[in-house]
């Protein structure tokens, strides 16, 4: 199959592309061949190098080595503007649009038809409409009138404006879509897929980035898999199974990645009934027991993070009941930590770590009182406590004094875990615990979660990565627009079922 099609069909050829940042290789040899009119999926875990590759293709970064051919001609754009002029456009996960501009202005921003600096409104409108028509189905044309302000649009409408914008400048030959569905409803996803299919049929090569494998199988025909900055496989999606893809992504068999010790569910430690936050969650009920890992699936913005924050006392609770270890007392992070509840933030840089402080400072920050009498912090005790977890979790560092920001993503995440362990929490609220870290650290973290659960800890795990939820959890509940459905055992679930429920 993969040998079909003449060489003349090749639109984009990437050969041996490398890129490093400050000595760390982000890409160490990527090969990619995409044909005219095909939807080509770029697969790989977070940190595999997908976004670096896309930034190079769209001109935001320059490659250190290797070559790129676009329709047989060397392609090394100076910047995004040149890339777009040569026909390569990108639409980011969260489209960058100006809230106060109109749809027409947004579509043509930076390339306005003007005479002596005065914008020619009617040409602007015509040209915007021309490219809007390519992305909006006929029956829906009214939805995206050129006069509407961006701030009045829904997320999916903004996505379409960004798409129209990508097509509006010059003759688009390669269109890159970066996680385009992560904030869309099921109906909008289906509509987007129709648009993508139409664009491909008109000869455009679509590079489609996603980690929803289900979705990729629906929209794309071929794939290239990246792992640790290298392209490790490519082929036809029709002839590759789901578990083959997962194994390729992780670089190891699924059973090795997700260990499962015998777990014995104990008494309930966290009970929610019709819990309601300011905006989200709107209705969440669950019971979490000792020795159990309960997963929460859902789209970006469905309220999963808000739920964890409300439980931990960082966000307000507006209604419903919330019991931690049968207590329903005041809610503040300090109080929760005293009760033995810890939160691992999804935003490691912005909230998880004080990254200009040392590893030891970060590790002990939530519980300094054991480090000396009378409010003193004795460095020797801090370092001893730190050293213990550095060894236990295998954190690679120069020592307790090293700054947190100098650690790799995986080691930073282990540091966040170490802080929870140092505090001695036994109810863990984990928000995207493996986002943006390498496969080795991920395997370590899965092992750690499994070990904690086996020892009787209760774990609530939010993740966007479905194989992870199915691999690590005992039960999974899906959150849709703030509403949490009943949790079901993973044995009754599949990625397909979760995805359908999440986008429904």
């Amino acid at each position: 199959m993969s040998s079909s099609g003449a060489l003349g069909d090749v639109r984009l050829e990437v050969r041996g592309v490398k890129k490093s940042f400050a000595g760390t290789a982000a890409l160490s040899g990527v090969e990619l061949v995409a044909r005219r009119g095909e939807v080509h999926a770029i697969l790989g875990e977070n940190g595999a190098g997908k976004s670096t590759l896309m930034k190079i293709l769209s001109g935001a970064l320059a490659a250190d080595a290797g070559r790129i051919l676009l329709d047989g001609a060397p392609f090394s754009p100076e910047g995004p503007v040149e890339a777009r002029q040569r026909g390569v456009s990108i639409v980011y996960q969260e489209p960058e649009l100006c809230a106060e501009l109109t749809v027409a202005e947004s579509v043509l921003l930076g390339g306005e038809p003007a005479r002596y600096g005065v914008i020619d409104r009617s040409t602007q409108r015509e040209r915007a409409l021309a490219s809007l028509r390519r992305v909006v189905p006929e029956d829906n044309a009214q939805r995206l009138a050129p006069e509407r302000l961006i701030k009045t649009l829904s997320p999916s409408e903004r996505q379409l404006v960004a798409l129209a914008r990508a097509l509006a400048h010059g003759d688009c030959r390669v269109l890159i879509l970066d996680e385009p569905t992560s904030a869309l409803s099921a109906a909008d996803v289906a509509r987007l897929f129709d648009v993508v299919a139409d664009l491909a049929a008109s000869g455009i090569t679509v590079l489609y980035i996603s980690h929803f494998l289900e979705e990729v199988e629906r929209v794309a025909t071929r794939f290239t898999m990246l792992r640790d900055g290298r392209s490790v496989a490519s082929g036809d999606l029709a002839t590759t199974t789901r578990s083959e893809l997962v194994a390729l992504m992780a670089g190891r068999a699924v059973s090795e990645l997700f260990p499962r010790s015998p777990r014995v569910p104990g008494e309930p430690v966290l009970e929610l009934a019709a819990l309601r936050g300011t905006v989200r969650p709107s209705d969440a009920s669950l019971t979490l027991r000792r020795g159990e890992v309960l997963g929460i699936a859902g789209l970006l913005g469905s309220g999963r993070t808000a739920l964890l924050r409300a439980i931990f006392g960082l966000d307000a609770v507006r209604g419903g009941t919330l019991r931690v270890k049968a207590l329903s007392g005041p809610r503040s992070p300090a109080e929760r930590l005293r009760q033995g509840v810890g939160l691992l933030s999804e935003d490691r840089k912005g909230e998880g770590l004080a990254d200009s402080m040392s590893l030891g400072d970060n590790l002990t920050l939530s519980k300094l009182d054991e480090l000396g009498p009378l409010g003193l912090v004795l460095p020797a005790r801090r370092d001893a406590a730190t050293q213990r977890y550095v060894t236990e979790l295998g954190i690679r560092c120069r020592g307790p004094e090293q700054l947190a920001r100098e650690l790799s993503g995986g080691n930073q995440q282990k540091l966040c875990f170490a802080r929870l362990l140092h505090h001695g929490v036994d109810v863990l609220l984990l928000d995207e615990p493996t986002r943006g870290i390498d496969v080795g650290s991920r395997a370590d973290i899965y092992r750690l979660i499994d070990g904690l659960a086996a020892k009787g800890a209760a774990i609530l795990l939010v993740s966007s990565y479905l194989p992870e939820l199915l691999g690590v959890c005992d039960r999974v509940a899906v959150m849709v627009r703030g509403r949490l459905a009943t949790a079901r055992p993973v044995t009754e679930l599949s990625e397909h079922a979760l995805l359908l429920e999440a986008t429904g």
Binding site: L314, S332, P333, A334, R336, L337, R338, L343, S345, D347, G350, E351, G352, L353, A354, D355, S356, M357, D361, N362, L365, S366, L368, D369, G372, G375, L376, V377, L378, P379, R398, E401, L403, R405, E406, R419
Partner: protein
Amino acid sequence: MRAWSKMTWLAPLAALCVTYLLFALLTPDTFLRGINLLTMLRQTAVVGVASVGMTLVIVLGGIDLSVGSAVALTTVVVARALQAGLGPWQAALTGILVGTLAGLINGGLIAGLRLMPFIVTLGTMSILRGAAKGLAGEQKIDADPRGLEQWMLLGRGFGLPPGVWLTLAVGLLGALLIAYTRLGRHVVAVGSNERAARLCGVAVTRVVVTVYALAGMLAGVAGVLEFATLTVGDPTDSVGLELDAIASVVIGGGSLSGGQGSVTGSLLGALLLTVIKTGCVHVGLPNWVQEIFTGVIIVIAMAIDRARQRGSS
């Protein structure tokens, strides 16, 4: 190597030595005299104490523009207290109490109403200045210092005045507070990443109020030393002192984005500013040259700070 890179005060120490030697070479017979060194230490006491408080505030990620006004208000309060017949210690404590109160107001507004420290202290800068003028009836208050002046007088021989010892003690306590206490580590954590501190259960509001109150208290102490120097209560005194204190902190390795700063460095920074001022006088350079020189030093300190930040990230 690692320990060296942590000692951010090495750079201001080096700058201080170089500047000192420069002026010593230019005017060896006057600048090098022991009495000159003592005078410079004495002149640094007020801004030095204020800069210790400013270091805490800046490490917290804040700023305090009301310090100069608080110092002036304290001198007036001390003078009024002495006039009212209070003893020197009671008068000094009253002054320090008023400074602390001003700091509590700053901290309360910033933490309670979640206002920007810059705006809040810009407001209190004006409020405290006005209060000082009102309390003093818009003129200098003469009062018998009843021994308070002794705090800033050079001792017999070459002994340091008590005020300088006090400054050093405040500096030592401040440095220990930041490095070795729970409160100090919480201050660094809030300045480094407030959200992370909140996540770890740090009582952010309490930390903020405490730090501004401490800074206000130290402004009060600085005000008492200023009164001891002037021996009058002067409501128009110490205009711009806060900028000298901020400059000292920045020269000493403090970062205005929070999380970084060294009390030792700030004191060295304050001393460096005094050396420049005094040295220029000895060389016979006009005031404007001295101001330009000071400005250049501040900009260089910031540039070094930026380079260090880039180097470590």
